[in-house]
């Protein structure tokens, strides 16, 4: 299994559990299929399989990773879930909007813009609540100013799960122009982020999400976890 990105050493390497004996078949299959971008590309080139077979593989990866993200967010036990529109996150959002995650004592609502989400989440954090933002990486540009003028300098912990776009498996011809630069943009802005993709074993995703949330409390600042649900 490939290592996690070097820049995220704290989140992806410390205490990483070994493969769980009860790992589901779906997760195992998804891990095998998504063992790395190069491997995936090679399989695509060599397989000669039908498009529908590949679509099914990517769907299995998406489903398994979405479940891992849901498990991770539920591990935080948020009382507020603020979300932005995202087709990639549809499984995750369905869980919280209308599935088992829509429960008494938890408010789940949509944000029209990422910066408004940061403002409301900051207010919730100041009130001592336990909010989580869920949105897509092409919205990062919308929130940078408020992030760097409110929660970051005010030392307000804030946590977001951010789905990746623009890599292998992307179906939009334009979105990569922003999404492929998200890591560099966040680095330039001094925003702490971690990444979960094919390089991190799927069974580690949920605990890593909880640990990143904890890290936002420990370091009194915004922290994002970038999650690739598309196969890369």
């Amino acid at each position: 299994m490939a290592e996690a990105p070097d820049r995220d050493g704290g989140a992806a390497r410390d205490g990483r559990p070994g493969p769980a004996p009860d790992q589901t078949a779906a997760w195992a299959e998804a891990d095998r299929l998504a063992a790395g971008r190069a491997g995936e590309a090679g399989r695509l080139a060599a397989s000669g399989g039908s498009a529908s077979t590949e679509a099914a593989r990517l769907a299995a990866i998406h489903a398994a990773r979405s479940e891992a993200v849901i498990e991770g967010i539920e591990g935080i036990d948020p009382d507020f879930v603020l979300h932005l529109a995202s087709s990639t996150l549809s499984v995750v959002l369905d869980h919280f909007i209308s599935g088992p995650g829509a429960r008494e004592g938890r408010a789940v609502f949509a944000m029209p813009r990422e910066e408004e989400g940061v403002a409301i989440t900051s207010g919730l954090e100041l009130a001592g609540r336990r909010p989580v933002m869920v949105f897509q990486d092409n919205g990062i540009g919308n929130l940078l100013t408020v992030l760097l003028t409110f929660p970051q300098p005010y030392h307000v912990p804030l946590y977001g799960v951010v789905s990746r776009r623009g890599g292998l498996g992307e179906y939009n011809s334009m979105i990569h122009t922003f999404s492929e630069r998200v890591e560099a943009i966040l680095d330039a802005a001094g925003v702490r982020w971690f990444q979960l993709d094919a390089r991190t074993p799927l069974e580690a995703w949920a605990p890593e999400i909880k640990r990143a949330w904890t890290y936002s409390r420990t370091t009194h600042r915004p922290v994002f976890t970038l999650v690739n649900l598309m196969g890369g």
Partner: protein
Amino acid sequence: MALTRADVLRRIDAAFPADPVVLTLGGTAREMIAVAGRRPNHLVNLDAMGQTVGVALGLALGLRGARGGRVVAVEGDGSLLMGLSVLGTAGHLKPDNLVVLLLDNGVYLATGGQPTAAAGADLVGMTLACGWAAGRDVRTEEELAAALDWAREAPGPLLVRIHVGTAQIRTDYFLEDPAILAEDFRRWLRPTGGPGRVAEGDSGHMNGEAVTP
């Protein structure tokens, strides 16, 4: 004679002495400090223009049921227009403890008085169309006094659009470390019944009440 911002801020401080008040940036925050001093219940938004009401909305949602009283946003017309989508979000969520006091001078005063787009906009009508409980336009001392009394009691979310002139009082720059501003505000919130911080491993819902949009 137009209401002046400094006088209105003095009245707001007197009307909400024990409620969280989020102050928009620029001259509004500086004039509040000049007329009322540093108040522990005041959270100064130093630079996140357009997001003062959003922060107050988060506080209102987070404190609803955990403490009585109101959460007040003191916003300007230019800043509100930068984050106008929050009217829809607040109208949808309907926190009954949220009060927005909009000081409308029609210009971006802190940057030289460039006109905003508020002059021809029915901002109270917008909030009502978005589902807010009620709103008022205020132009006189008498209307201001009545509106502040009303805003302390009526179910929210409420918008009071207070038309003020462009006169300013001389103030110093306010250069406090924002981390201190936030911590002072948190420390004030904690003993007054706020849920408080949540430690890792806690179940999270400190006050146990149902929170529904």
